[in-house]
């Protein structure tokens, strides 16, 4: 069936209000149009529909939810677990249900011809009654379960879409998909409301579930291409992680900040740039957490708010460690200059960690953050998910102009080449390597500034010791080979 409306000269978009969705869709869903949200069972179609309406209601736009499958009571309960109080929105006239879910208590039989004029009239009535600007229809499959004529339903859905469009309503229509990949949606609906199609996926990958959203098409307007991971969190609804879609407004600054270690600042020509991403790489016990502690202490000393994400040690352990090195974290925490967020890496998926971290960053607005360690988060994650996490986090903190320090544990005791992972090293501005070196009958520690973007720096390998004052960097070690590969030895002479 061809569309009887003339092609618009341009298409306005209505901000969906769902985190990340508007970045991926370049501004939201096409205004006064129907967007088909297609996905397999369990792909969060209903969550999308509920969140779309709730986000609108939150900004004073009334919405109508046409439910064809779940009873309104079930949806209210479901939505409450996502953090949306539908009953309250209904009370305030911002939400109206059109209940077209099958009623198992009533038997119905079909004899002869019919259309869905009653349903369409109810939707129009509800839209006019609350002055809705948004409508969600969830899901088309529920209709096919109640009335058998697929051809008729497609025609009626088309009429519904045209009617909503005529009323200037922006709508979302959810529809089942038989598989995660492949062209066709079920029931041939994609061919009817075909101008705008979003696909939600829930793919099993290396034993892990991964949710993604893809804008399949959005005719006449631009959008991001490809799949973007998203997460459904209780109390937050649906959040898309836009990764590369984040606008990197990195302002290069000449301002330098202290690493918290004077000699290291000297090696870096006066400190790190204010918007630096610093990667500290080394084997276990080499002093990565200590380096991060110095970095936090340096921020606190300069009166900056610091946020520490610890995935290896508890808050108490960090306090105790810091005390051991003569650094008092508890005063900084009470004074509001430090916040420590400690979590088990396995307590949530990477997407969920990322969303929590972003929320904490948004709330606390730190000037410095540390993540100790990235390697702990990498455990049990797929390579793809981990890459997206690192890119997502670093893009976000760059955007917010926060100085970030990430630690990475090399598997090999003497070093190794974890940092060559291209997705980490290319986005970092400073790479600091910590290594063990074998001296005569003792193991010593050494560090070097491998790279520092946009600045001269000391390229020597320096020995350092850990004392009651923390890290003390000593003289350069000469004639040392194999620092990068980890195959180290000092000259025996």
């Amino acid at each position: 069936m061809s569309d009887s409306f003339p092609p618009p000269s341009f298409i306005d978009k209505l901000p969906s209000g769902m985190p990340g969705v508007d970045l991926v869709t370049h501004g939201g869903l096409p205004k006064a149009r129907t967007t088909l949200v297609s996905g397999t069972a369990g792909s969060a179609k209903t969550v999308f529909a509920v969140h779309f309406l709730a986000a609108g209601a939150a900004s004073g736009e009334p919405g109508v939810f046409v439910t064809l499958e779940e009873a309104p009571d079930d949806l209210r309960a479901h939505a409450r677990s996502l953090g949306f109080d539908i009953a309250e929105l209904e009370k305030r006239g911002l939400w109206r249900f059109v209940d077209a879910a099958p009623n198992p208590a009533i038997e119905a039989q079909v004899f002869g011809d019919y259309d869905l004029a009653a349903l369409l009239a109810r939707v129009r009535h509800a839209v006019q009654d609350v002055g809705a600007t948004r409508v969600a229809v969830d899901s088309v499959g529920g209709l096919f379960a109640q009335v058998p004529d697929e051809h008729l339903i497609r025609g009626e859905l088309h009429r519904l879409a045209a009617s909503l469009r005529g009323m200037g309503v922006t709508s979302v229509l959810t529809c089942e998909r038989p598989g995660e990949y492949g062209d066709a949606g079920m029931f041939g609906v994609e061919d009817f409301v075909a101008d705008n199609v979003l696909v939600l996926r829930n793919v099993l990958e290396d034993g892990q579930r991964r949710r993604t959203l893809e804008v399949l098409k959005m005719r006449g307007t631009s959008h991001q291409r490809g799949e973007y991971p998203f997460s459904v969190i209780s109390g937050e609804g649906l959040t898309v992680l836009p990764l590369t879609a984040i606008d990197i407004r990195q302002r290069s600054t000449d301002e330098r900040i202290s690493s918290g270690i004077d000699t290291l600042d000297d090696m870096c020509n006066g400190g790190w740039f204010r918007d630096s991403m610093v990667l500290v790489s080394g084997p276990t016990g080499a002093g990565k957490t200590l380096t991060a502690t110095h970095f936090l202490a340096g921020g606190i000393a300069a009166g900056e708010r610091c946020l520490s994400f610890s995935f290896e040690e508890s808050r108490e352990q960090l306090h105790r460690n810091a005390r051991g090195w003569g650094i008092d974290f508890s005063e900084a925490e009470t004074g509001g200059l430090l916040r420590i967020h400690s979590a088990f890496p396995e307590s949530a998926g990477l997407e969920d960690h990322l969303i929590r971290m972003k929320n904490l960053i948004d709330e606390y607005r730190p000037q410095r953050i540390t993540v100790d360690s990235l390697s702990a988060l990498e455990r049990g994650a797929t390579a793809k998910a981990f890459r997206e996490f690192v890119i997502g986090l670093s893009a976000y903190i760059k955007q917010e102009e926060i100085a970030g320090l990430f630690t990475v544990t090399t598997s090999d005791l003497s070093g190794g080449t974890t940092i060559t992972d291209s997705h980490i090293s290319t986005i970092t501005d400073v790479v600091l390597l910590l290594r063990y070196i074998e001296g005569e009958s003792e193991i010593r520690r050494a560090l070097t500034v491998l790279k520092m973007r946009g600045s001269a720096h000391d390229k020597s390998v320096r020995e350092f010791v850990i004392s009651s004052d923390g890290i003390r960097i000593e003289r350069p070690i000469s004639q040392l080979r194999g620092f990068l590969t980890g195959d180290l030895s000092t000259p025996s002479a």
Partner: protein, 74 residues
Amino acid sequence: MARVQALQAQDSERFRVDIVDVLQRPDVADQHGILATPTLVRVEPQPEYRIIGDLSRGDDLLSYLLPDTVSQTP
């Protein structure tokens, strides 16, 4: 519709038929959760039972509407 109205005319003691235009009264359609047009709702006797479609095939309306009654009186 004419056939349903004819029932009432035939035996107004036994049958009472209300006709609702959903375009005029979408609120009534909403109360009863009606999707399709036409839908014939048997409110009494309970349990509620629905017939969707125009019954244009000349079928015996009563046998659909009151299957129990018909089967009891052959």
